[in-house]
Structures are given as C-alpha cells and as structure tokens.
C-alpha cells in the first residue's frame, strides 16, 4: 500500500516537470497499462488466455466516441459509461466463450474479436467504417469537469482511472472470489468438485476484465480524438497479451510495467532508428530465452538472492 501511494504521488507530481510531448507519451503509456492490467485479471488469475482482448478496447473506444460526439455528457462520465457498457457486453461474450476451455477458449475470443472488427468495418453509421470516428471532443461539463479536457487534466483522469482500477482489481484478486479464480487456474476440475460453479466465476472475471479494458479504450478515444478499426484488430490483442507476459502474469503490477516498457522502448527506439522493429523483435526473443517469467519474475529473483 505504501508503495502504491508513493508511485501515485510521484506520477501526480510529474506534470510539473515534464515537457508536453512527454506528457502525451506518458498518458498513452498509462492507458496501455490499464489495458494490459485488465487482461491480466483473466490471464494471470483464471488462466483464461484471451486472443481477442482488443474487443474490449474497441468497444470502449467506439462507445465513448459516440457518447462524446452525439450527447452533452461530460468526459469523465462518458468514459465510465463506456467501460460499464463494455463489461455488460462481455457477459454475453463470456457466456459463449466459456463453453470451451484451453486453446479453444482462446480461439473463441479471437473469433469474437474479429467478428466485432468485421462488423465495425461495415457499420458506417456507428463506427464510421474504415474512416473511423474523427474529431471526438472532450466534452466539458459542470462541477469543474472541464479541467479534464486539458492536457494535464486528461493525464490526471487517466491516472485516476488506472489507480482506481488497480485498487479494484487488487481487491478482487485478494478476496475469496479471487481465491476461487486461482483455484480455477490451478485445477478447475477440483474447484468444480468443491462445489463452486466455475463457469459463473469465469464469466464474472471476463466481465470485469472487459470493463477495465473498455475503460482503457474509452480513455483512448478522447485522448487521440479518433477511433478506428485498428483498435479492434487482432494485432492489438496480440500486443497487449505480450505486454502482460513481458511484465509477468498474475501480478497486476507486472503488466503495467510491461505496457510502459513496451511503449517507451518502442518510442525511444523509433527516435534512434527507422528499423526499431528489428531491435524490438530481437528484444522479445531474447526476453523469452533469458527472462522467462517477465519483469516481475526478474525482480523477485533479484530479491531472493
């Protein structure tokens, strides 16, 4: 807890000293961090490996984009509403996907993600098809919510969402509910025979994961000012899964670090060389070979020595 507060204070003070372009990058990194952490709820705690988590992100982004474009609802509420919406949709998705387990579950989530991608590509009135939604405003509102529309304000909004979600997710995994999830991860048959309806637990955790993932997407839409089908494409699902693995699954903090690492390294490399992808790819391969349990695993081993 002390660590959490210290990091929060540090992040809250950063806008005082950082140039604007660094703030933009940092905001994007925090959004990605929230997205990766949301996936870790499923992957790390219930071993529900989703290949279609972009669905949550895209749902949140398009929902938030439409709310901001077509209503007067102020930014922070629009973001929250989009996150909740994504979580509600996830109940249906999870109900179908949890019919299967293991690799088949992953494939079903991939199919769902791509189905949404295909729909978004053609549903022009809602998604703007291949052009996407452009010019998404940061709608101002009463009670000082106008502040969140500024660059610094938006950073604080993102930070609040990330920390709120982190505390929520940590409470979930530390609760009895979280213990059942770990039971499912280690031995689902045994958990089932202890009398837990594991499928309901799985549906619940997928819904939570989608809600937080949707929240991340909902932040991205007004952050970038646009939403397009890239946000639903399987490539993003693959990337976020890799951020989770790079950071270390089942730790919540790890994926946050993984996402920040991913974005910052990518950014830094691309300023040095056009061929950043070459180095980036090599980093992944070396990572797997030499740091199999992620950044958090590395930190833990350090501490053990």
């Amino acid at each position: 807890m002390r660590m959490t507060i210290a990091v929060a204070v540090l992040l809250a003070l950063l806008p005082l000293g950082l140039p604007p372009y660094a703030m933009t990058l940092l905001t994007e990194a925090l959004i990605m961090a929230l997205f990766a952490m949301s996936l870790d709820l499923m992957v790390g705690y219930a071993r529900l490996i989703s290949f279609g988590h972009a669905a949550a992100y895209g749902l949140g982004a398009y929902t938030c984009g439409n709310i901001l474009l077509h209503t007067d609802i102020p930014l922070p509420f629009a973001v929250l509403m989009a996150g909740v919406f994504s979580g509600v949709v996830a109940i249906g998705v999870a109900w179908v996907c949890t019919l299967a387990t293991g690799v088949s579950f992953s494939m079903l989530t991939l199919a769902f993600g791509q189905l949404l991608y295909a729909v978004a590509f053609k549903w022009t009135s809602v998604t703007g098809a291949s052009d996407g939604l452009a010019g998404i405003p940061r709608t101002k509102g009463p009670f000082g919510t106008a502040f969140f529309g500024t660059k610094t304000g938006f950073y604080y909004l993102t930070m609040a969402c990330l920390f709120g979600s982190f505390l929520f997710a940590r409470a979930v995994v530390r609760s009895p509910f979280g213990a059942v999830l770990r039971g499912i991860r280690e031995n689902e048959a045994k958990t089932l025979s202890l009398g837990y309806n594991t499928r309901l637990y799985k549906i619940a955790v997928v819904a939570m994961s989608y809600m937080l993932g949707g929240l991340a997407g909902a932040l991205y839409a007004p952050f970038a000012g646009f939403a397009n089908t890239e946000l639903l494409f399987w490539l993003l699902s693959g990337q976020v899964l890799i951020m989770v693995i790079v950071g270390g699954t089942g730790t919540l903090v790890g994926p946050i670090l993984g996402a920040v690492f991913f974005l910052l390294v990518q950014q830094q490399l691309s300023t040095y060389t056009d061929s950043w992808a070459l180095v980036f790819g090599a980093i992944f391969i070396l990572f797997v070979l030499f740091v199999p349990d992620g950044i958090m695993g590395l930190a833990r081993r350090r501490r053990a020595h």
Partner: protein, 289 residues
C-alpha cells in the same frame, strides 16, 4: 450471363482461393500437430515467400525458378529458426512461443522492408499463364485455373508424403506420441525441425503463388495470418484434412459471400468460425482441446 456459367466460374474462383489458403493452413496445422505451438510468424513466412519469389524471378527470369527457390530458401530459414531458437523452448508454456514468433514477425517485416523497400513489387506471371480462357463462353483468367490445379497437386503430394513415406510416418507418429517415437530411436528434434521447415516452405510457396495476383507488399502478413488461423481453427488444429476442408469452406464463403451480400461476407466468415467452435470446440476434425 447465364447462371451455369456464373456458377462454374465462381466455383473455380473459390477453388483457386482455397488453394492459396490451403498452402498456408496446411503448414500451420502440421506445425501445430507436431509441436503444439501456434506459429504467429506464418504470415511473415508467406510474405517472405512472395519477396524471395520476386527476387528469384528477377535473377533467373523465370517464374518456375521462383517456385523452386522460394520454398527451399523460406523453408530453410524456418528450419534454421527452429534449430536456433524454438528448440530451446520445448516444455515451456504457450506464452513463450507466442512471444518468440511475434518477435520474429516484427523482425522479418523490418528486414524485408530494409532489403526490398516499401514499394509493392509486382511479380510478372509467365506468358503462358497470363491470358484468359473461355469457360461456357465466360472469360476466366488462366492463372486462377493454374492456381486451383496447383492446390490440388500440392494437396495430393503432401497427403501421399504423409501416408507413404518414412518421414511422413514419423511425422504422424510424433504428433501422436513424441516420447514413444523418441524412445524407439528416432531423433524427434530432427522431425520437428523438418516439419517446421516444411510448414514454412509451404507458406513460402503460397507467397510465390499469390504474388502475381496481389503484388508483394508489407501488408500481406497480418491479413494472411488471420485467414490462416480461421481455416485451421475451423478444420481442427493439427488435422491435415481439416485444413483442406477449412480452406474450401472459407474460400467459398468469401467468393460467394462477397457477390451476394458484400456487406456481411467478412462477418459471416467469423460467425461460421464461432458457430463451429461452439458446437465442436476442437474444430471440425480436431480433437477436443
């Protein structure tokens, strides 16, 4: 246009499309069957095949030369990657392979950009295949006929290879029980390298076949890999026959779907995949995962 002619030409169209998908899907499914890994870099090998094909045509002046050179070079590269990197990772969980093959995809994409540049490269098809023929008075490109034929030939060759040759036997045995094959005195590691090489080589030859129609470009990989996934998942991961059925199903849905209901063709493909997975979680011919 009379309906019969329309039906025949569209079916031939779908067959040629299925042939392309099959080159990719069959390799992916073979690799999964033996190693239990999902090769995310499969689309990158397909793309590499197209570019190597372009260079081979440039150097030898012959499309047929490209058809020989690309699978050998791409397959060789795949086998080398298996021996150098993947081999160290067996026994780890699926995460590792996801990351390694994803990393490889990034590196290959960038390496291709550095070597061949960003412009799309047009592979010229050989004179003898570039014309059209009339089927029931309907014009139809010869190249697509050739592609459909090539698909059938390759399918038969692979099928016979798996059924009739010693290596084919070892591959089937290894996919059922690798430990036992190893205990009986076969170096399973070599079988794995061979299968990975063959799978990548098939993707490479698919790239050469595709190049004259779609040009070799950097956008090839992500789209190819997702189509490949769909057919392999529909057919059942690890099933050779399944990948054939999946390729045919997807190709027919794509061709007829984009004619009759162009707005829903793409969504329809994923809907079919979802339905099949819900009914049979392992795919049509796959084992329950």
């Amino acid at each position: 246009m009379d309906f019969l002619a329309f039906l025949v030409t569209q079916c031939l169209n779908a067959l040629s499309q299925a042939a392309l998908l099959f080159f990719l899907g069959c390799g992916l499914t073979l690799i999964f069957g033996i190693m239990r890994i999902v090769n995310f870099a499969h689309g990158a090998f397909f793309m590499l095949g197209a570019y190597v094909g372009w260079s081979a045509v440039y150097v030898t002046g012959s499309f047929w030369g490209a058809l020989v050179a690309a699978p050998i070079l791409v397959g060789g590269f795949g086998a080398a990657f298996e021996m150098g990197i993947l081999r160290r990772l067996y026994g780890r969980d699926g995460h590792s392979f996801l990351m390694v093959t994803f990393g490889l995809t990034l590196m290959m994409g960038e390496a291709i950009r550095l070597i061949w540049g960003v412009a799309a490269l047009q592979v010229v098809m050989p004179q003898s295949l570039s014309g059209i023929v009339f089927i029931l008075d309907e014009p139809f490109p010869i190249y697509r006929l050739f592609l459909a034929g090539a698909g059938i030939v390759v399918a038969v060759v692979i099928w016979q290879f798996l059924e009739r040759t010693r290596l084919g036997l070892l591959i089937r045995a290894t996919s059922q029980n690798a430990e036992m094959v190893h205990a009986l005195g076969t170096d399973v590691r070599l079988v794995r390298s061979a299968v990975f090489g063959i799978g990548c080589g098939l993707a490479g030859i698919g790239g050469v076949f595709a190049a004259p129609m779609v040009t070799a470009s950097l956008g090839m990989a992500p789209n190819a890999v997702i189509d490949t996934f769909v057919i392999v998942i529909i057919g059942g991961m690890g099933s050779f026959l399944g990948s054939m059925i999946g390729a045919l199903l997807v190709a027919f849905v794509q061709v007829f779907g984009s004619y009759y209901f162009p707005d829903f063709a793409l969504a329809f493909m994923y809907l079919i995949m979802l339905t099949i997975l819900v009914v049979r979680p392992g795919g049509l011919l796959g084992k329950e995962a």
